[in-house]
Symmetry: C2
DNA sequence: TATTGTTATACTCTATAACTATA
DNA sequence: TATAGTTATAGAGTATAACAATA
């Protein structure tokens, strides 16, 4: 299959999945992405988080503002360079993140559960590929 | 890898790709999705298109309205049941769709070109899997 | 001046609710 | 009444521009 067609099919299925995911989730995808990053890599600056998600710092500031209002993250000005603001997970943020992952209502996890082992393997490999594509 | 983690990673990379795709495209993902569907399956009703994209008919009506304003699709009331409106590609719509696919500036197609053949194969298989997941 | 971050504002996409026309 | 479609409105997510604080 020509790569242009693959790209096209990928775009379309991405849109469908994103809509499907948006529909029934407690935490939005972008919020989960930030919480996950903080959980995996520890406290980070606004810019660092923005770069990690390939998002503008202004957009990330807005996202962080929302998460802070919900008590899921805390802002702490860096002691060395006070222009920088370190963002870190609160206890509540970590708990909500883990609870979200555990949710048995998570239809996507269930859907993936329903795939055959070989198919799950393909999906895992594809995710690694997509991560590489996303940073190009 | 537990399927909950796969689901989580998939969510995150999806968000990143969607932002990346939104950045530098002539036609938005949802517009391409509609034009592609009309190209592949021929004229369809608003509801049919909405169902095909897992989108509300109201949202689809809005999308179609935009495409119509740009002259890419035409609305034609069905002759049998005049409540129904058939949507079809115009010549310009088909040309723009094809031209978009051909674009050598299409970074996604280029990125996929840069993958190894075996990796491209994995991606194609994964897309088929994602399509199945999207309709669950 | 350059850098980090935030606020203000606007645009895109999609949802729900309310409405019109046809069956 | 039920169905197909549309319009009005609202919300989420992210972008750009303008601004403030610190280096």
């Amino acid at each position: 299959m020509p790569t242009n067609d693959v790209a096209n099919d990928l775009r379309i299925v991405l849109g469908q999945l994103v809509r499907r995911l948006r529909a029934d989730d407690v935490l939005s995808t972008s919020h989960v992405a930030v919480l996950s990053s903080l959980d995996r890599l520890g406290a980070q600056t606004t810019s660092g988080l923005a770069a990690g998600q390939h998002m503008r710092p202004q957009s990330m500031a807005h996202t962080i503002g929302e998460l802070e209002k919900e008590g899921l993250v805390e802002r702490r000005p860096d002691s060395d360079d006070r222009r920088q603001v370190m963002v870190e997970l609160t206890k509540g943020g970590r708990e909500l993140l883990y609870e979200t992952r555990r949710r048995r209502e998570d239809w996507l996890a269930q859907a993936i559960d329903g795939l055959m082992p070989a198919e799950q393997k393909v999906l895992e490999q594809a995710i690694a590929l997509l991560e590489r594509l996303a940073v190009l």
